[in-house]
């Protein structure tokens, strides 16, 4: 302060702090864009750190912010690069950007936003509406692959339509119901007070027997708490799996109906959240919504990237401590197999069990040679063949053990 000669007037200080807080807000936004969990409270603490003199040198501020904003090892490792890029203007070598690919397509709020925009435009020129409606699918196919997008219609017609066959739906539901029964509940080590139980709850017993002079007449016991198992299904809908997609879609339908808690995802080159669409009461509407989401199906498989999307956007919400993740895929990865390995490891840390059902395993002479399945194998708890509903039913005893 003294080095400037005259002391700065208050307006100047205000101006400086305004600039700093604007820059800080921009930094917080950058962090949020990079999947850091940063809330208002963190912003306030960051400002407090700057005020407390931690901004003296960039190195000190970087370390202080790193502790404040990171929440896990991946955040921790990336932070220095992000910080340097933002505050010191250095290039980041590999900035991991994950797009929420499938999301805008089925996000109702975004959709309505588009609609309202086009409506406004429509008031001026009615023809505007048609190109704007065309634009949306164009955007989506740009994200995926051209050839995949063209085959999508075909797949939607052949396989998804068969969902309407009442006989097979019934079978699928029966299989799912059996599975739901055996996998339904898992005991936890957490106790609940109950009339009947295996252990006395002394505290409640004494409390309720004070009026008897402390003689324990009515006993309160503790019983293990049950927690429903949640099943999360990830179905590969790529070209190599097209023979089996129909079977498993029916099965997923049954699972969503029968399990108390279940979620379903479809993936090929991208990941799509399909639980809502498949829970639709009107089957025709459900099929329509599914076909829209199946855009890009039948092309290559990017299991690693799809799992990355899942881990980043969905995992925290859909996985709890009693979750079982069931991946149905042949393991033919067209993307980066190393990425698949990393994402499988991350998924394995989050959930209780991972089941990988591979239809190809039923073929004679099959060995897990594909790079994808090799990378994933170490993190899988049960790796089993399944290509028909019958083979699924045969898996019951193994699934029950999970």
């Amino acid at each position: 302060m003294s080095c400037c000669g005259a002391s700065p007037d208050y307006e100047e200080i205000d101006e400086v702090s305004r600039l700093v807080s604007a820059k800080l807000a921009a930094f917080l936004k950058t962090l949020r864009d990079n999947a850091y969990a940063v809330g208002l409270h963190e912003g306030r603490d960051a400002a407090a750190l700057i005020a407390a003199g931690y901004a003296e040198t960039p190195g000190l501020l970087r370390v202080a912010f790193k502790h404040l904003f990171s929440a896990r090892k991946s955040d921790w490792d990336r932070f220095d690069g992000l910080f340097d890029a933002f505050w010191l203007g250095r290039r980041v070598k590999s900035r991991s950007i994950t797009t929420g690919s499938a999301k805008p397509a089925n996000n109702p709020s975004l959709k309505s936003l588009q609609d309202s925009q086009s409506e406004r435009a429509g008031n001026e020129a009615a023809t505007d509406q048609i190109p704007s409606a065309d634009e949306a699918p164009g955007d989506r196919s740009g994200e995926g692959r051209m050839e995949g997008a063209s085959r999508a219609d075909n797949l939607a017609e052949v396989d998804f339509r068969k969902l309407a066959d009442p006989d097979q739906i019934e079978q699928a539901h029966a299989a799912a119901a059996r599975l739901a029964r055996i996998m339904r509940t898992r005991l936890t080590r957490r106790d609940l007070a109950r009339r009947r139980g295996y252990r006395l709850d002394l505290r409640r017993t004494i409390h309720s027997n004070i009026s008897h002079g402390g003689v324990p007449i009515s006993l309160v016991k503790r019983q293990r708490k049950e927690k429903p198992l949640r099943l999360i299904m990830l179905l590969d809908a790529s070209g190599s799996m097209s023979m089996y997609t129909g079977v498993f879609l029916r099965f997923i339908h049954g699972v969503l109906d029968e399990f108390r808690e279940a979620e379903a995802f479809l993936f090929h080159t991208r990941l799509a959240y399909v639980s809502d669409a498949m829970k639709e009461k009107d089957p025709a509407r459900a099929l329509d919504r599914l076909s829209i989401m199946a855009q890009g199906a039948g092309g290559g498989t990017r299991i690693g990237e799809s799992l990355q999307t899942f881990n980043r956007w969905h995992a925290a919400r859909v996985i709890h401590s009693r979750s079982c993740v069931m991946i149905v895929s042949d393991g033919y990865e067209t993307g980066d197999a190393a990425l698949l390995g990393r994402e499988m490891a991350a998924l394995a840390r989050r959930c209780r069990r991972i089941v990988w059902l591979n239809p190809m395993m039923a073929w004679q002479g099959y060995a897990p040679e594909a790079a994808g399945i090799k990378a994933a194998l170490p993190h899988i708890d049960l790796y089993a063949p399944a290509n028909t509903l019958k083979s699924l039913a045969e898996l019951e005893p193994y699934l029950a053990d999970l």
């Binding site: 407090a48 931690y54 990171s70 004494i206 009026s211």
Partner: protein, 302 residues
């Protein structure tokens, strides 16, 4: 020292050095980042979440911090099914039953008031930590082993620092403890808990720091021997092992070598190979590191 806290806020730089020195005095050699994290803990009043492989000295941080603050260390070891009665408080049933018998004939209300009073309350670690006159260090060890219900409960305690006991009412913290949580990453923690905490990833120490740790902990380990041990351990960690040796194992090994009167690793490769059992804890690793491998690794250590 009444003026100490103000000084801490005004001069974070100096304070960080002080922290590192204080930790070193109690036998923990901290890197610069950890010292910053500990100064932030005091400034922002947030818990510190330490994550890292098993055996990198996460628990030691809490012990050293308690020694540096000259305060008590209260430790809560987490496990699946850990519940309020073993983490927070429990009533002393035996004494309650005795009291009920002794006051037989009194009014039920009076007895109830008496037996549900402070006198019959057993403090468990979490309650103890907020009722000390001098803020203790609360170590919540291996939080990833507890289940998510407990995590949610802990989150509430860590944000409000108050506990409500149905029979007694709300107990507010007398002092806010320094909270350190550790996790081995066996289970993903909830985002809410992670956001609440400062985060520090504890990695295996580099050669220089590990050598200093050995010198600080093992009396009789000279500078050159410590450096040799640290270098050899570093190269062993780079081998493909099932269980990578941690700092505690290094210290065991150093103690063994000092005890066997080894001054220089090159003088007695036999003893080096035979004492490697301090570092390698599985049969697979033991058979992987053969005599030849030991010699190759020793060759790299200057």
């Amino acid at each position: 020292m009444p003026g100490h806290d103000e000084k801490r806020n005004a001069l974070p730089m100096k304070d960080r050095k002080e922290i590192a020195q204080a930790l070193a005095a109690s036998g923990y050699i901290a890197d610069g980042e950890l010292a910053t994290a500990i100064s932030l803990m005091a400034l922002l009043r947030r818990p510190l979440l330490l994550e890292g492989e098993a055996g990198v000295g996460k628990t030691e941080v809490a012990k050293a911090l308690a020694a540096a603050h000259a305060t008590e260390l209260i430790r809560l070891q987490c496990y699946e099914g850990l519940d309020q009665s073993s983490a927070l408080y429990e009533w002393n049933y035996q004494r309650q039953l005795l009291a009920i018998q002794a006051h037989r004939g009194d009014k039920a209300d009076a007895i109830e008031d008496q037996i549900f009073s402070e006198k019959y309350l057993l403090e468990r670690p979490l309650l103890a930590a907020i009722r000390r006159d001098k803020p203790p260090v609360l170590l919540i060890d291996e939080i990833d082993r507890a289940d998510d219900e407990f995590e949610a409960f802990l989150l509430e305690l860590l944000s409000d620092f108050q506990v409500s006991i149905p029979e007694l009412g709300t107990i507010t913290a007398i002092t806010i403890p320094h909270v350190i949580l550790t996790s081995n990453g066996t289970r993903e923690l909830s985002d809410a808990l992670r956001r609440r905490c400062l985060y520090h990833y504890v990695d295996y120490p580099d050669v220089d720091r590990e050598a200093r740790i050995i010198m600080a902990r093992i009396a009789g380990a000279g500078a050159s021997l410590s450096l040799q041990i640290a270098r050899l351990v570093e190269s062993i960690r780079k081998e493909e092992l099932r269980k990578v040796p941690g700092v505690a194992e290094t210290l065991d090994w150093a103690a063994a070598l000092v005890g066997l009167d080894v001054r220089d690793l090159h003088d007695s490769p036999e003893i080096v190979h035979e004492t490697l059992m301090c570092l390698l804890k599985t049969h697979e690793d033991k058979s992987r590191v053969t005599r030849e491998v030991t010699e190759r690794l020793l060759g790299k250590v200057a």
